[in-house]
């Protein structure tokens, strides 16, 4: 966790620098850094992020005893791979939801995740997916009268 804190602190300092030096000036035609410019508030918050990141970096570099009881790795490479795969599945199903509608996207999403988590019985997948989507469709479009794709 100590290494992660150091990397995170440096990354956040980089983010603050990017925002203050590149993105905020690029987003505005009137870059004023004091008074009540529209960018006063985000710059103040970015300063807070920056100062806290410096604090985290200093703590991580100088106070090793604070990490004595944190022995387990918070995220292994296999967990990260598993997570990325799950994200890709969800993103793919959301794209189906966007292009083909609620029923196709819902079926793709629920089926993909159930298979990913170990379910192999198609009847059970259908028994979960179809009533879920149907109930949601009825609740949202008929009761709340909000259209779904």
């Amino acid at each position: 966790m100590r290494r992660i804190d150091i990397v995170a602190a440096i990354a956040l300092l980089g983010f603050v620098a990017l925002m203050v030096l590149v993105i905020i000036p690029g987003e505005s035609s009137e870059g004023v850094w004091h008074g009540l410019s529209p960018y006063f508030y985000p710059v103040v918050m970015l300063a807070g992020v920056g100062l806290s990141s410096v604090g985290l970096l200093v703590q991580a570099l100088t106070d090793k005893s604070a990490y004595n009881n944190q022995t387990t790795t918070p995220l292994t490479w296999s967990e990260f791979g598993f997570f990325l795969l799950a994200c890709l599945l969800i993103l793919g199903a959301v794209l189906v939801f966007h292009w083909l509608g609620t029923w196709a996207g819902g079926l793709a999403l629920i089926a993909a995740l159930m298979i990913f988590m170990g379910e192999r019985n198609p009847l059970r997948i259908a028994a979960v997916a179809v009533p879920t989507i149907a109930l949601t469709w009825v609740l949202v479009t008929w009761t709340l009268k909000i259209p779904l794709p």
């Binding site: 529209p38 006063f40 918050m45 970015l46 005893s65 604070a66 966007h98 999403l109 988590m117």
Partner: protein, 506 residues
Amino acid sequence: MSGQVLQAFSNVMTLEVMAYITLGLFIGYVVGVLPGLSRATAIALLIPITYKLPPLAGISFLIGVSKGGNTGSALTAILINVPGEPQSVVTALDGYPLAQQGKSQKALKIALIASVLGDFLATLALIALAQPLAAIATGTGPVEITAVLIFAVTFIAAVSGHSFYKGLIAGFLGLLLAAPRLDIETGQPRLTFGFADLYDGVPLLAVAIGTLALSEMLVQIDKGWRGSYEHKAALLRDSTPEGRRLSYREFITCLPTIIRSTFVGIGIGSIPGMGASLSSFLAYAWTKNRDKDPSSFGKGRLEGVAAAESADNASVPAGLIPMFAIGLPSSASAALLMGAFMLHGLTPGPFLFRDDAALVYAIFIGMVMASFIMLIMGLIGQNLFARLITVSEIILVPIIVFLCVIGAYLEGSGMFSVYLMLVFAFVGYFMKKFDFSFVTFLIGFILGPMAELSLRQAMIITDGKITSLASHPVALVFLALAVLSIWKLNSVRRLQAKTGALPEEP
């Protein structure tokens, strides 16, 4: 005022409002029973359903979910030693041993009664304290509000999660997230990157559902945990006749513990960032230490279950005291409730009592009614709710992910919020894994617009001069408290990190 209370009473005692309170409690109970699904997640998912509802029905529904979730979490803690919510860890200390002794139903009954009593008394405390505190708060101006917000964010950052600096980073990032929108003075787009969907600010539900619900589901998928608890749910059926009953004598014995622990829950729960976990731990520890036989705790004492549950449930209404009084959410659930208020065009805080007192009183009355409904629901539905423990994650997680997509879509009536939700799910996952407090992040995001407005007004009033603070003593006090919380709580946090005793997220 009596006219407003009568009007509030008549507004609440309608079939529609009572039905939504009951439905909210039922859903909350179910959510509380299911491990891995928190009440904050459920509130985030259910906010879109309240769009079309009148504010009273919608807010009462969501408060019902919050209350039911806290009560339901005791079930899994007692029956299978897996807390439905983090604060139910303490309930399991004596609840699970009672279940193993064939007294599961006795334990469940005392947990239910303690929950309802704690919730009811804390709701009365909320009604008694919120308005007087709000009246004091109306005398404050932007300088004082800015100082209170600075103190709140630093204090919550200091007590949440495992690292003070990470908590602060999360808080400031949440506050920063309120920046993309049309500027409040010039009306020009600011940090919107050409997306018109951001003109009103980053959508609340995209952030809430992404960081709370979807990221938690990604963690659940990641764990690869598939549990079947049928054999453990048998503990409910196998109770002895004596173990199924809670006698009047046993209830009277637990009553002083319930009342004492309720006051602990009210005190701790009303302080932003403290959380229900701390309430239940403190109440349990106090009960154990003053008992004649402390060594019997942890082996099946009814008083242990009663202390934990009454403090835990008292912290829910108590956590709404700062929200109603000064517009400051004390937990993730309170932050989401505050977001729900805003989505209905209301701003929780001192001026809500002035502008819509009848609505506030109606919500309070609804909360009192919810306590009674919760008791009836618990007594009748205990066995039914216990069966839910056997539902596998393979079924639950995909359903919840689907509901996340629908919920995000409903907010913006388009796919922008859905894609944004995916981004925040990604961010929330890493925040959870690397111990950046997502609760502080969410609270910062909810408070962001108010923080910006008060900061800008404060800068105008003080002309940007720090010496002007001398004429704002209340602001100076809160700024001093912020510095004190950074100094003292950071020292305590570093000591806890070294000894391994770290608190839970509120």
